[in-house]
Each structure stands twice: as C-alpha cells, then as structure tokens.
Point group: C2
Chain length 192, copies 2
DNA sequence: ACAATACAAGACCAGGAGTCTCGTAATGTC
DNA sequence: GACATTACGAGACTCCTGGTCTTGTATTGT
C-alpha cells in the first residue's frame, strides 16, 4: 500500500513517522469525523510536513486505506475451530465489535472515497471487502446444516449478512449488537 | 425541500427553471458521476446563474436530495393488492429496477454527502429511507406466514433486505436482479 | 567531504462550495 | 407610465482542500 522503502544512498525512511501519521489519522477520524480529517490537519497534528504524507502514500484515499488495515491488526480471522453451533455468530459478533470500536468511521470514509472515485472503490473492494467475503462464505459453508450448498446461495447470504451490517454502519439507525448477530446466523441455518 | 415561493412584490419565481436544474443535475450525475456533478457544472449546463441554484436550495446536498425525490416520481408505492404470494418479490423488484435505471447514482451521492455531514445523513434517512422502511415492513407483515411477528424481527428483516440492496449498490460487485429479489422474499417466509 | 535522500515548514496552484455584485427582466402598486 | 421589489444570467470573489514544489536542515553511505 504505502510506497516501498528500498535501501540506497541518502537518509533512510523513518518507519516510526509512518505509523505516527497512521495513528494520528485514525485519531482524527474517530474524534472529528471524516470531513475534518484533511491532509493538512493530519500533517499539522502529527507535526509532519505535508510532503511526508505524499511521500508515503500517493493520495488521501491510500492513506485512509492503510489506516484501516493498520487499525485492523487485531485481525478478525476465521477461527473455525471451537463450538460449531456458535462459531458463525461469534465471528459476526467479533466483526461488529471491531466496527463499533474504531473501524466504523474508517470504513465509512473509504466508502465515501469510493463513491467519488470508482477506481478506488474497486481497490477497496478487492483488497479488503473481498477477503472478508471469502472468510464469511467459508464460515457459512461450515455452519450450514445442508452440506451441498450451491455457491449462488452462499454469495447471497454473504451479501445479506454484510449488507445488513453496512446498512447499519452507514445510517446508524440501529446498533450492531448480539441480537442482530444471532438473527443473521440463525437465518443461515434456515436456508436450504 | 426547496425554498418556498411565497407570492409578494417583484418578479415571481420561475418554477420551470427549478425543474430544468433538477433534470440537468440528474443527467450529469448519470452521465459523469458524483464528483463531476459540481454546482458550477450544473449551473453551466443548465444555463443558469449559480445564485439561482442557491436561491432554490441552500446547498448541494439539498439539491441532490430533491433531484432524488423528483426522479422518484415514478413512485414505488406499496401495491399490497395483487397476488399475495409474489407481492413482496414484485415490490422488491420494482425498487431494484428503479435503482438500476437512475436512482442508484443519486442514492450513492446522497450517502457520500451523508458520510461527510452527519446532520444531512439524518435528514436523508428520515425524509427518504425511513419511509421506504415503513412500506417494506408493511409488506413483510402481509407476506409473512406467521401473523404475530414481533416488530424486532420485522426491523431486522427490513435491514437485511435493504442492506443487501445497498451493499450491491455501493460496491457493484453483483447485480440487483430477480434472483436476489426472489431469494430475499423467500427468506422472509422462512423466519418464524 | 560529498552525494543523495528524508524531513518540517510553508508557499503555491487548481478547483469546488458558497457569497456577492451588476445589469437586466418581470411583477404589483400607485 | 414610474417605482419598488424580486428573479434571473453572468461571472468575480473568498475560503478551503488536495496535491505539488521549494527551502533549509538532518541523516545516511561512500
């Protein structure tokens, strides 16, 4: 994502500056929202030259994307092991918690960038969303009562689950809580 | 939405200019996308002074919102009458068609505005989304096999259906087609 | 010492939202 | 018809943001 740090002559890149910028960006996003998290503001708060931002990332969208990945280091990976009957619900719940904590604002910001820039929308989808979809569809297959589930149905279920999540992330009309997680994992069991 | 036209002294407002602006905005949104649909561009193409835009609407978000409502005059209302077994699927399908035709770009634009401006997000939700949710929950209640469905479940189902729709509107990874509509209406029947 | 790069600070440019001004057109009132 | 009042098209203007460029200094390998 960020521009590579190939060793050569001259002063070396300072990795700690890169993470300082990412942390600052996340903090501003959380505290002041998407619109206030301007490049100048991030540079100012991080006490960093604007050029340094553009040395590490080629534009705002790339920086925000990496902020998301950096933030998601507490990674929500598929732990298919464990009690099979609640594995799916637990998985969904873990994602919800991450969204409720920090990721929500960042995810929304990236959607906004994607709406303004179709090319970025594709990048965002392939480098982040698609991977989550893969994981979820594995979980669904494992969780489903009927084994030979055609992929069409699994795809629809993935869109249903993440769709409901995104819908509540974007409009914030209802919380992402255990009730929804239970309802969604229940839904999967009902499909044959 | 648009600023009222109270009669009084002076030259009267020209309603045809208002609709000309809305049509131009929709056209630019469809043909060039959200980012290109700037206020200056709309004014230029519509052959209208920028001040006229701001006389009718107080900002870009308001204009886009009214463009959406104007575009949605081919209104997707609940026609609960008709074959009860396909009424829900038909309803969903009609919304999908409207989105696929014009509304999709406008809806996405309004989401982007909402992400940048929380206050507008609320306005968008209450004046547009909430009404669609009302209609859909009526349809669900009518469609459901079990009559006494607690409102909690209906709300979740609404979020599931519109969630899946929005998810595909935003990322465009899969089409909004009859298959999804059938799957979703089927899902409702399976919930008890 | 020297070349090369990174860094902070900040000037600079392009473009968009929103405001303001100007000259003109359309209305009601006298 | 004269007048006050408002709408209109055109476009200049301010302010802000994304992104670039410059300058002076710091840090590396040779």
């Amino acid at each position: 994502m960020s521009i590579k740090n190939i060793p050569g002559p001259g002063r070396p890149r300072d990795e700690s500056i890169r993470t300082k910028i990412l942390k600052t960006a996340i903090m501003i996003l959380k505290r002041r929202g998407y619109k206030q998290a301007t490049m100048s503001e991030i540079a100012l708060v991080a006490q960093v030259g604007k050029q340094t931002l553009y040395r590490w990332w080629k534009n705002r969208a790339e920086l925000l994307m990496e902020a998301l990945l950096y933030n998601a280091e507490e990674n929500v990976d598929a732990r298919i092991a464990g009690d099979g009957s609640t594995a799916l619900k637990d998985f969904i719940m873990r994602i919800f918690e991450s969204v409720n904590k920090d990721a929500g604002v960042i995810l929304k910001s990236l959607v906004a960038e994607g709406i303004a820039d179709k090319k970025f929308s594709r990048i965002f989808f392939t480098t982040f969303i698609a991977k989550r979809q893969q994981t979820l569809s594995m979980m669904i297959r494992a969780h489903a009562s009927l084994p030979e589930k055609e992929s069409e149905t699994v795809c629809a279920l993935v869109d249903v689950i993440f769709g409901a999540m995104w819908y509540r992330i974007i409009f914030e009309h209802r919380p992402l809580d255990g009730k929804l997680a239970a309802f969604l994992s229940d839904l999967v069991k009902r499909v044959h």
